[in-house]
Symmetry: C2
Subunit: 257 residues, 2 copies
């Protein structure tokens, strides 16, 4: 029996999603420990994709295969009693026929948040990066428009990516700015077919750089030349949240919105 | 020379504002340690009022008396190099003539936040309390309207309050509800002349209780009888944030909004 799980985690104290050989604390490690307690046997918990150390997830999608007498309506609560406060299962249900949380992904949405302040603010720093000064919103949106569509994003990826192709499609790249608790907060929301290693943090960095006056020519040349050094540095992990993963088939039909 | 400071802190790992005899970690303790390093002598840092263990402040107002060659425009940055990540000075300036951050208070605004979920959510739990089910917004607003105005709030205070009078005026009690990152979030924002020990957390609890169907008669009887047991339990500290403190005189004229 395959179950699909919606999982929320605060990435601050995790060395990313994927289980590490060196025994660091990971989301997968916590989920698999909890699943083993509930299912009684070692149980692998797959995810839609890995998230890096420090990256948060509002609703990561996972699956596991196992047999249990626990009714699925009580499975999330049951796993949650075994999980730490910074990683919880929002809901669990039998997976649709042929579902694979990694391979069936249609699109994913990430959000990158950054606030403007001269010092790291105690009530903002956990879920957002800091900008020393305000970038220009109009220029940021120009960069966002150029990033949209199908491109070779090789230059927007850190070395270490194992992807076979570096072509990805971004269906939307939205930039918003508003006052949040007295601080100016910038939010970049990106929906795409898939993302390379560090890709969202790098493209967020480039959008901010263009907002500070960098020419968008670098960005366009980077698509053609694949030169990583044309593009901004990787932004800090704390600003990044995996917001949503969408599939060909509906999941949790009644519960998801 | 008296300086006024705007201070932000994440209350999660503080035993409240006020310095404790037993050497627990407090906001005042951190501020006074930093001030002593900058001013070179033991320096008391007063606040508009104490906040309890676990309560956050977006903009607590403090003052200190001291002499330094550091220009006031650089004082916040200077103190921040000595402060931990969960407590920072947003700005510092010479205090207006006759200013006392505790005695000159005109009104304070607190916000109480709570979200609806069957389990504590990793990305919500740090700055909000949890409700198991959704209270009725209309009923909550009825309770809020009854709380507004000048009343004897003795029944809305935990024992241990040292206040001389328990009469306080609430200028506004606003209840809002919205979807925040997929969860239903309730926010109660209260502005008043002053607050008794635990008062905001108790009145938030009573507003939620009325939202669940409790009669507002208890609330009205509690004003007359001062009976604490007519009123709901104190809500958890994590949901409470001191948002704003206002004074007779303008502070940080150019910087505050």
């Amino acid at each position: 029996m395959r179950y699909v799980l919606l999982v929320q985690y605060d990435g601050t104290f995790f060395a990313g999603y994927q289980r590490q050989k060196r025994g660091e604390r990971t989301v997968q490690g916590e989920l698999e420990r909890a699943a083993e307690e509930v299912f009684g046997v070692p149980t692998r918990v797959a995810a839609s994709g890995r998230t890096d150390a420090g990256v948060h997830a509002l609703a990561q999608v996972c699956h596991l295969d196992g047999e249990t007498t626990v009714p699925f309506e009580r499975l999330a609560a049951c796993l949650n009693t075994k999980l730490p406060p910074d990683c919880k299962v929002l809901c669990a249900a039998p997976a649709p026929e042929g579902f694979d949380c990694t391979r069936s992904v249609k699109q994913k949405t990430y959000r990158y948040r950054a606030y403007v302040a001269p010092t790291a603010l105690p009530l903002f720093a956990r879920y957002a990066a800091r900008l020393e000064r305000a970038p220009d919103l109009g220029r940021m949106r120009e960069a966002a428009a150029l990033l949209k569509g199908e491109h070779d994003f090789a230059a927007f990826s850190s070395t270490g990516s194992s992807a076979k192709t570096t072509v990805r499609t971004l269906y939307s790249v939205e930039v918003a700015c508003r006052t949040e608790n007295g601080a100016t907060m910038y939010e970049i929301e990106v929906t795409g077919s898939g993302f390379l290693y560090h890709m969202v943090r790098i493209l967020a960095g480039e959008i901010f750089a263009v907002g500070y006056g960098k020419s968008t020519e670098n960005l366009q040349r980077a698509f053609a030349t694949k030169q990583r050094n044309l593009i901004a540095k990787t932004m800090p992990a704390a600003g990044l949240t995996l917001v949503r993963v969408e599939y060909q088939m509906p999941l949790f039909a009644a519960k998801e919105d």
